[in-house]
């Protein structure tokens, strides 16, 4: 019996599923809300897998079938200045398997917030920094993987983003981030990890690093992006043969995907799809998200985004 992937969800939830889909912009792009402009998004996202990597061994699990995570999210992006934006999001998550008897879990997951700042811009070339964090918003069970809705860690992410935008609307973005993840406490006071037994309820969660490239077009309210991303844990252990996954696992994944947005006026829509092409200790997830956006100005300034 193996469960698995919620760590992936949390990690990718934080790093892909949620942040990438923040309306109009993300922590890893170079797009900004104008000063005093706010964009609110309501979105539904889902990801599912029926195969996963048990360490490096790709396998199915007939006692899981297809593992599905559903997310209902509210997100906000706000222009504090034209160069400083605040992004925040909060998902409600529920999980289920199509086979076996593991009880699905549900609840409010982690509140995330990021400040993104444009340091430099010249002739379409720009450099940005983002600092964000996340904190669990409910006392969910972090180690009942893959059914858990998250791994319960408080995180802090630092990120740098480099962007070049051509006046035609075509742009390219490179980004890289590092996420510190705090130790967590589980319900048990003993557990096995890193090939030994710990007699405590405290569990060390590996930090993560991620990086990626976006290639896209942004003009006249239309954004279309293709992306590739890589996520790595810094350390961590492997799912043992036929074992359950655990929050300490070294989750690695490589992803490709596309993001589309259309925002002709105050209202807009966006959609995102991503697929894990390879990984370790993660599910080979196909995920999608669709959202409705509403953008408004709080001081009568012009509504819009800049890139």
């Amino acid at each position: 019996m193996s469960r698995y992937y919620l760590p992936l969800f949390l990690m990718m939830g934080m790093l892909i599923g949620l942040q990438n889909s923040v309306p109009a912009q993300m922590p890893n792009d170079a797009i900004y809300m104008n000063k005093n402009t706010i964009c609110v998004m309501a979105a539904y996202g889902q990801n599912s897998w029926d195969e996963y990597w048990e360490n490096t061994l790709k396998r199915e699990n007939l006692n899981i079938g297809t593992n599905t995570t559903q997310m209902y999210m509210v997100m906000v992006a706000a222009g504090i200045t034209d160069k400083l934006n605040l992004l925040a999001g909060l998902p409600y998550v529920q999980t289920k398997n199509s086979a076996g008897n593991l009880l699905g879990q549900k609840g409010l997951q982690d509140l995330s917030a990021t400040l993104k700042y444009k340091f430099f811009e010249n002739h379409g070339l720009s450099l940005h920094g983002a600092l964000g964090g996340s904190i669990p918003m409910s006392n969910y069970i972090p180690d009942f993987l893959p059914m858990s809705i998250g791994i319960g860690s408080t995180t802090l992410t630092g990120r740098i983003i480099a962007n070049y935008k051509h006046h035609s609307g075509i742009y390219i973005t490179l980004h890289g981030g590092y996420t510190g993840r705090n130790n967590i406490n589980i319900d048990r006071d003993t557990y096995q990890a890193y090939d030994r037994v710990y007699n405590t309820s405290e569990v060390a969660i590996p930090n993560t690093a991620d990086g990626g490239i976006n290639l896209g077009y942004l003009k006249n309210g239309i954004q279309a992006t293709l992306f590739m991303e890589k996520f790595d844990c810094i350390g961590g252990d492997a799912i043992r043969r036929n074992d359950m996954p655990f929050p300490t696992n070294n989750m690695v994944s490589n992803n490709v995907g596309a993001f589309l947005k259309y925002q002709p006026s105050h209202f807009g829509i966006n959609g995102r799809i991503a697929y894990v092409t390879s990984g370790q200790n993660v599910g080979q997830a196909l995920s999608f998200m669709a959202g409705i956006l509403y953008q408004f100005s709080i001081k009568g300034e012009s509504v819009g985004v800049s890139n």
Binding site: L102, T154, L156, G180, Q192, A204, R241
Partner: protein, 513 residues
């Protein structure tokens, strides 16, 4: 703009604090102590396997005036003491908590490491672990609760029989500790009046090693290193001379070899005899069970050790096992069954976080040291808190270990006698994972009630607390949705009877308790 920089600055500092925080996990760890009582008469206590504490001979030690012994003392003082490294000191500190305590901990750690069910292969079969090829997939053993209960029982019995034999010889020969024979030797652990020949640490190390390499044959290199470290630590700490150690090593190995001779013929070899299940199901149907247990895994997994109920018990015989066997539970369709099932359905819909926590805390499922090992941990820590001597710690864990194996055997006998269905056969899910064997009675309930009963006798001032824990464990299986209430209640009653048999043994073992 300036304000924005201030905000960013604050966040960067906060970020630095989080990223730089220490991830290191602080385990609780026992330390050395002076026993409240040396139990000088333990050489007269009753063994489990040996006929008496003189059955295995120990050679006479050299007199303390003998040049060979004086040379050993000189070596401790002038060769070893100046060369004790920080790593050696860490080993001394670790083993200072007691060899019985540490070897029990090592065994529990190995149980957790090997507590993984075999994966199914391409043909949809589950290959059996192979003791001759322990590190192949699937690894041998699958250290499930019955396996681990038994492994720990033999470990504890070997330690106990070896230690009471050691106590016999210690007080017969009465060779004092090195630092009492040469006052200029400084021990690195609390000094004791206990005679040092044969070394109790070496006795326990060798006995434990002999049992554990048989139970976990893939761990020989690891166990070799632990054996060497345990023995060396006693010399580095100047608690023993090499001749104390070698005598203890020989004694421990000789006693454990006799213990393992019994282990090889206790019926465990036939515990996984899957050909018996057809007959078991028919017999259960004949007893009125119309919906027998069926594996809920895909592909269907053969039940865990269906014939473990035929393995030899320690503290009672087969007739007693049969006479204690709980009566038939509520059958499917009866109002009582419906009531128990409805309770589970309600919890599935309304499980509180506290119920989930209790279910998780006591789950002791895949990848954990198992429920009997959880009780070993509780008992070993209670022994440390009570400052038990090494030999009383061994008696405590042998009484518990044999009780837990008896509980496992008697519970498995019951499970496969009635072969009752799990709640998951009626649509329930689980928040902790479903064991792959029949439902009635609960293994957790039986293990826990038996453990709480014997531990209540061994630690009378904590008896109420142990019963409280056992009751919480009972509820945990209901909260986790894998047992009907009747499974837990009847398992609890059963476990109590099993524990009472162990108390009877404890009262007549010569320890005076």
């Amino acid at each position: 703009m300036k304000k924005n920089h201030t905000i960013l600055h604050s966040i960067l500092i906060a970020g630095f604090l989080i990223l730089s925080c220490n991830k290191e996990i602080q385990d609780s760890s026992a330390v050395a102590y002076l026993p409240s009582n040396l139990d000088n008469n333990a050489g007269t206590w009753k063994p489990y396997i040996l006929a008496n504490t003189s059955e295995v001979a120990v050679a006479d030690p050299k007199p303390v005036s003998d040049p060979e012994y004086l040379k050993e003392l000189d070596s401790l003082k002038n060769f070893i003491a100046p060369r004790v490294s920080p790593e050696n000191k860490a080993a001394i500190k670790y083993w200072g908590a007691g060899a019985v305590y540490r070897w029990n901990e090592i065994a529990r750690e190995l149980a957790a490491k090997y507590n993984l069910p075999p994966a199914s292969n391409a043909e949809g079969k589950y290959p059996a672990p192979d003791a001759a090829n322990p590190l192949a997939d699937p690894k041998f053993p699958f250290a499930n609760p019955p396996y681990t209960a038994r492994a720990l029982a033999y470990l504890c019995v070997a330690q106990y029989d070896a230690l009471i034999t050691a106590w016999n010889y210690k007080f017969k020969f009465n060779r004092k500790a090195p630092y009492k024979n040469d006052l200029s030797i400084q021990p690195l652990l609390p000094p004791t009046d206990l005679p040092s020949y044969p070394s109790e640490a070496a006795v326990v190390a060798a006995a434990s090693y002999t049992v554990l390499i048989a139970m976990f044959p893939g761990e020989v290199p690891y166990l070799d290193s632990k054996l060497a470290e345990c023995k060396n630590a006693s010399v580095w700490a100047a608690m023993n001379t090499p001749s104390d150690i070698s005598a203890g090593d020989a004694l421990g190995k000789a006693v454990a070899a006799k213990v393992m001779t019994k282990a090889k013929t206790d019926g465990m070899a036939a515990a996984n005899n899957q050909t018996l299940t057809t007959g078991m199901i028919e017999a259960a149907k004949g007893r009125g069970i119309q919906n027998p247990w069926l594996s809920q895994e895909a592909p269907l997994r053969p039940p865990m050790l269906p014939n473990y109920g035929a393995v030899l018990t320690w503290n009672f015989d087969k007739a007693a096992l049969v006479s204690m066997r709980p009566p038939i539970p509520y059958v499917v369709g009866s109002p009582e069954f419906e009531k128990d099932l409805n309770e589970l359905s309600y919890i599935q819909k309304n499980q509180t976080r506290e119920q989930a926590r209790i279910a998780n805390f006591w789950s002791d499922g895949i990848g954990t040291p198992t429920p009997p090992a959880h009780w070993h941990r509780i008992a070993a820590n209670a022994g440390i808190d009570s400052k038990f001597s090494e030999v009383r710690m061994a008696r405590t864990l042998a009484l518990l270990g044999t009780t837990e194996m008896d509980a496992g055997v008697a519970c498995w006998d019951t499970k496969f006698y009635y072969y009752t269905p799990r709640p998951q056969q009626f649509g329930l899910k689980t928040s902790i994972g479903l064991p792959n064997f029949p439902s009635y009675t609960s293994g957790h309930a039986t293990f826990s009630s038996a453990a709480a009963t014997i531990l209540g006798y061994l630690f009378p001032d904590q008896a109420t607390e142990f019963i409280r824990l056992a009751n919480e464990i009972n509820e945990s299986r209901i909260f986790g949705l894998i047992h009907y209430r009747i499974d837990c209640e009847m398992g609890f009653e059963h476990g109590k009877k099993i524990g009472i048999h162990a108390i009877a043994r404890g009262k007549t073992d010569g320890s005076g308790q």
